[in-house]
Symmetry: C2
Subunit: 766 residues, 2 copies
């Protein structure tokens, strides 16, 4: 493993320039605020390897499907979040020569992502063509306080003699997606303008018709004092630029402050989009760089106060967990319930930026525990709003009810591999489970009344239609599925899928029963709305009760699918290291017929229902499956780590945690350059809080069972639970529970109930 980044609790530092590493650094140094995001590209031109990336949340394009052999039911398109107008572009020339670090390697290069304040800084020195040394310092942020605003400063100091400096501060709308199926341009120009004060480029997405306006305004200082240089302005349909030229004397520093704004027709009337962007950027410029930065830092301070995790004695772990939390918060804020969490957030294009089951299964717990309940509710409502599309999706497969898509932007299925699109249907139950977890955690049972019950009933109907009654076994089977372990395709009776379907059916009956008893009016409305009958609910119960599971000699060992035991079960440690990851070295058929597990499957089921399996059962299944698991999905090790902590395998849990947490920082899968594994970052958080912290909950209570890895002296995390804030500090000897605001509340620790008054701190011996 190559250590690219220095270890530090709050910052990610890349010291020394490496053109080779640049795309990885660009991913790691991405900045975002839920509304928009930028990869860590250089401002000035760079002719080396780079993936330019500027993304605006919710602005996507339906890229025409590319498949070899069409199957009935495939979608016409794959929705892709668009690479948008480049906001940070700043052409720099020194002594008449364009600055390009690929051609003129810099000295003393340091790039620093400060996660506490959400800023990216870069410093280096270069020699000009005339041999003068120049220092450059840039600082950039995308405002967490004002979602449509970002700013950067670009400072050049003439160290060893006079230097001709020219800047062209640009907006560049001549962009395309690197992952376009047919290399098409997804934007058409709407307007562009550039005056001495402000520039704008407005583009509209083809087909989807989103108008996105970008505006920028510049300010300059010489040695820290405002200076006016008359700009040389230019623009065409796709670009706009303001050029500034100065003969910088030795020792002088010229700083350009570039303010940028992004507005879209998603938020503003289409006719006002451009005007609004210009207003926003003018306001930002008037406020000034320092004030904007201060507001941005304050916003991050609030976020960290809710979601920080501190680890003592292990800087690699400390840095990594903050890195994960930082990027999760940059990607999704819960302010806009039309948005969701793309697998790469704003850090790359792969997987198109659509919504996967990752959201419900991995990300939801993070937002439940670190943010107001409305954030988690936003995520639930996102699916609720797409229920009609999910019904269409099920109908396309000839099935009743609703099947939520594998990947989506607006509720329509985008994925186009039959073994996933049509068969990885367990995703449907992840949405059901999220409803249960949301209610259990927040206590907001009323969510069932107008939203939850609809999703529950329609997904249950899907399962009731999808099962096959088997007369020989007198049970219900689910044939032809792909489980979470995508290294098995088209199997029969995947234990996880059957278990989740049985849960989904049973929980729907439970929820209906609850409403009938406790909210009869709402229940009546729901029955009418959904055409729900007691007969149908009984059928749901019957299927759930009579679900078939793969036969096992040992009833406590759950078999991943029918026929799994026919495979050669050889622990993964026997795979030669040069053949790992097997996804990059083995042909697909070899992977499929092997026993190797890409990500938690049976273990995911055990994770999902923590109260339903005894510790010995959990341990038996962990002991059986973990050695066969290659963790080649970013979603795997976090879940295994949680179960490992629970069954007392704390060192194993620690190793798995570290793998999850440092996945991108250490580029485990050789793909960080494509972008970060944003949804997987929550796996690291899960292994901290659900794993080491042992957080579990029912509708009745919140419990903790903290353990402490040997590598650490202590750790602390924060929780929000039903409006009450807690901090939990775990040392070798104690668990310290501190009330941090809100109502008095009870927490169970190591099986014992503790009632915390406001601001009370309790110390519990371990």
């Amino acid at each position: 493993m190559k250590e690219r980044f220095e270890l530090h609790p709050w910052t990610i530092i890349k010291r020394g320039f490496s053109a080779e590493d640049n795309p990885i650094c660009e991913s790691v140094f991405s900045l975002g605020n839920g509304h928009m995001g930028l990869r860590g590209n250089f401002e000035e031109g760079f002719s080396g390897k780079t993936l330019k990336g500027t993304y605006v949340a919710g602005v996507y394009y339906p890229d025409r499907t590319k498949v070899a052999w069409w199957k009935n039911g495939y979608p016409e398109y794959f929705a892709k979040v668009l690479n948008a107008c480049d906001l940070i572009a700043l052409d720099v020339a020194l002594d008449g020569q364009p600055l390009d670090l690929a051609k003129t390697p810099p000295q003393d290069f340091v790039q620093t992502l400060d996660m506490q304040s959400g800023t990216l800084e870069r410093k280096f020195t270069v020699s000009t063509s005339l041999g003068r040394s120049v220092s450059v310092r840039t600082l950039r942020f995308v405002s967490m306080a004002e979602k449509e605003i970002g700013a950067l400063s670009y400072a050049v100091t003439a160290d060893s003699g006079d230097v001709e400096v020219s800047f062209v501060s640009m907006l560049n709308g001549d962009v395309r997606n690197a992952d376009a199926n047919y290399d098409e341009v997804f934007w058409e120009p709407v307007s562009s303008d550039c005056t001495a004060e402000v520039a704008e480029i407005t583009l509209k997405t083809k087909k989807t018709g989103y108008t996105v306006a970008t505006a920028k305004a510049d300010a300059l200082t010489l040695n820290g004092k405002a200076v006016h240089l008359a700009p040389e302005i230019s623009h065409d349909t796709l670009t706009a630029g303001s050029g500034y030229h100065i003969n910088l004397k030795k020792g002088e520093t010229l700083t350009l402050f570039k303010y940028f704004a992004v507005t879209t027709s998603r938020d503003v009337a289409e006719t006002d989009v451009t005007k609004t962007a210009i207003e926003r950027v003018n306001t930002a410029k008037k406020a000034g760089f320092d004030a904007l930065l201060a507001a941005h830092k304050a916003a991050w301070q609030t976020i960290w106060a809710q979601s920080d995790i501190e680890i003592s004695g292990d800087t690699a772990a400390q840095q990594a967990i903050r890195f994960n939390i930082f990027h999760l918060n940059q990607t999704y804020t819960g302010d806009d319930d039309r948005l969701n969490i793309g697998p790469k957030g704003f850090t790359g294009e792969k997987y198109g930026g659509g919504t996967y089951w990752d959201t419900e299964m991995f990300c939801l717990p993070f937002f439940l525990s670190t943010a107001d309940a409305r954030v988690a509710k936003s995520l639930l409502l996102y699916r609720y709003r797409q229920l009609s599309k999910a019904k269409e999706n099920a109908a396309k497969l000839g099935l009743p009810g609703a099947l939520f898509p594998m990947v989506t932007m607006n509720g329509e299925e985008c994925h186009n591999e039959w073994e996933i699109t049509f068969e990885e249907i367990h995703r449907n139950a992840a949405i059901t489970l999220a409803i249960k977890n949301y209610i259990d955690y927040t206590g907001d049972v009323s969510y069932l009344e107008d939203f939850g019950i609809d999703v529950l009933v329609e997904t249950a109907r899907f399962w009731a239609g999808r099962v096959t009654f088997n007369a020989r076994e007198n049970q219900y089977m689910i044939l032809g599925v792909t489980g979470p372990n995508e290294y098995e395709n088209n199997v029969n009776n995947n234990w996880y899928t059957n278990r989740m379907a049985a849960f989904s059916l049973a929980f729907t009956v439970t929820a209906a029963g609850y409403l009938e008893k406790n909210a009869p009016e709402a229940y009546k409305r729901a029955k009418d709305r959904l055409g729900l009958s007691h007969h149908e609910l009984s059928h749901f119960s019957a299927i759930s009760a009579d679900m078939y599971y793969p036969k096992s000699d040992d009833p406590e060992l759950y078999i991943q699918q029918d026929g799994f035991l026919d495979k050669a079960l050889i622990p993964a440690e026997h795979i030669p290291p040069e053949e790992r990851p097997i996804s990059q070295h083995w042909s697909w058929d070899r992977i499929l017929r092997s026993c190797y597990i890409k990500q938690a499957d049976v273990i995911q089921g055990i994770f999902n229902f923590p109260h339903e399996f005894s510790l010995p059962v959990k341990q038996k299944n962990f002991d059986f499956y973990e050695p066969l698991t290659v963790h080649e999905s970013s979603l795997s090790s976090g879940v295994y780590s949680v179960v490992a902590s629970e069954i007392g395998y704390v060192e194993k849990a620690y190793a798995l945690f570290l793998r999850a947490a440092r996945l991108d920082l250490d580029d485990y899968n050789h793909d960080t350059e494509d972008g970060l594994h944003i949804t997987a970052t929550s796996g690291a958080w899960l292994s901290m809080v659900y794993g080491f912290g042992g957080l579990r909950f029912t509708l009745e209570k919140l419990t903790l069972n903290p353990v402490l890895p040997a590598e650490w002296t202590d750790y602390r995390f924060n929780l929000v639970y039903r409006g009450t804030g807690f901090s939990v500090s775990v040392t070798k000897e104690t668990v310290v529970l501190a009330h941090r605001g809100g109502e008095a509340a009870a927490v169970w620790v190591y099986g014992k109930e503790y009632f915390l008054e406001a601001n009370q701190t309790i110390t519990i011996n371990r």
Copy 2:
């Protein structure tokens, strides 16, 4: 079913013009001679729906792979037989207006494919812009006597007044494949020329570098007498044309004879390709249309003498079986052992024109029984020559030995669907079985010595590496395969695949034993060449003997794969007619988890080993599987028909035969417009000769067990067996066996041996 074509024993007649039907007619009216082929396009311009198609055998392009999600092991390209320079193009203008039947619908339109003589004729009348009536008659053939030559005549008669007629006789190299993945042009121009005597266009394929020269020369007659009209000549890099103009008096007929030649760098030194094409076309013109046509007809007469089947009392069947035999002979002649049989022959582009297992499994028996043994041997040698590529292919999957590709042009795998490419591996054993059948039928055991044994050993090695030893069953399993029934993917222990693998391993041991005993020198050479040991052969025997088959309560009912009986087994007749074919109406997952069978799978295995199962066993499996079979592959009904005949289900056999034989004429699958199902045409022949005729063979003897469908008064077919020709006539009362040349030979009929002297005829009572 719409009856597009009139029923006639020797011709296919399309009476009345239909722009809508045109693409289907173009497929049906395709002409070819093994070296090249043309779809039945109109000579003159046609602005309606058309798939222009001109194909040259063995000239292909590696079209860059198009897949949604790359899997390790996928090929870089899909080889495609190229749409080549249009040879028949002839722009016609009448009274100054271009003739275009889409714009000026003709009267008295009749298109006639004469299968006996291999010609395509078209007649119609049209009105000119000045209201004059003109009769047109065209005749076309692609010479079976001289493979590089074709010719057409285009006669225009002024019926009702003087008409200005102009012809532009063209070569048009501005063509592309309709099925190109990225709409790329696959050709680059080499040269073009047009003189008063001859025109040529020479093109070269990109990447593969095949040079293909096309040349044409024209002759004209006025009222049957040669006339010289000075042509207006023109050419650019891709087209060449000769224009002729005449004022045709009422009652006069102008006929243009266009001769064309196609030569390629596959057959002629690259420097001579163009020159040779010009020489060929000049020679052809000198010989004249009538002489060329006479030679062509004579060649067809020879072919029909060997391969014709006569059916009395059922014109639909008679026409259909000849249609199938006609197209098989147009596609492959055995003259060039670098060639093979594409699924659409020269009638379309779909499936790329590569070689599939169709060749060995379906087409080989036809050529074995209707042509000299060298033709079948050519097909075997084609695979032998590609053995090293098949070894590379196995190595790509991490396996020993050789895996022949699913689709190939030069031995490299072209297919790119994991469930087929990597898993439909039963194809490998089809090649083994073809060797056994070739030897058994021809008696040419010596084929084993230098060619056969290599293929047998390397394919056996593949199986030995591909099986999984299962300690619980103490048997060998084959996990993760797709059987012939492609409506099941990635199943474990497909009975057919396991059975074929077991055969392949056992037959390899048998063949090695035979060589050791009977050709010890050759055996020693082979052992050295292949590094073969007795130990390895013993291992092959052990795997074959200990092969696992899906568990069945009834040992005489073979279960298609593990878990097949878990499905809902509902006969296909319960599928609503509007949902057939299910491939066009059901989503893929629904098809997969259904019990419905695309094409013979267990029944294919029973067909493959006719001597190894008792009639009651055959019947039991037929009764179980046929009702579950939807026959949505063109390769299905022929095989089922053969088994149905054998078990005495003659009416069922007849229905299945008719479906196979009239598949394209009646456009069963709504896809005839893409081209004909050339490899499937042999299924109709199989159901005639193996089915109704009951042909079977071992190395020791040839047997017949004829049955007669109630619809027929009698039928007759011809056979070549070890150099001896037979005709077999079956009536209600008798089987008449006639010796038609070659050595005296024995044939077993209804279990009794008959020895036929030269020219002897024997009548056997039924």
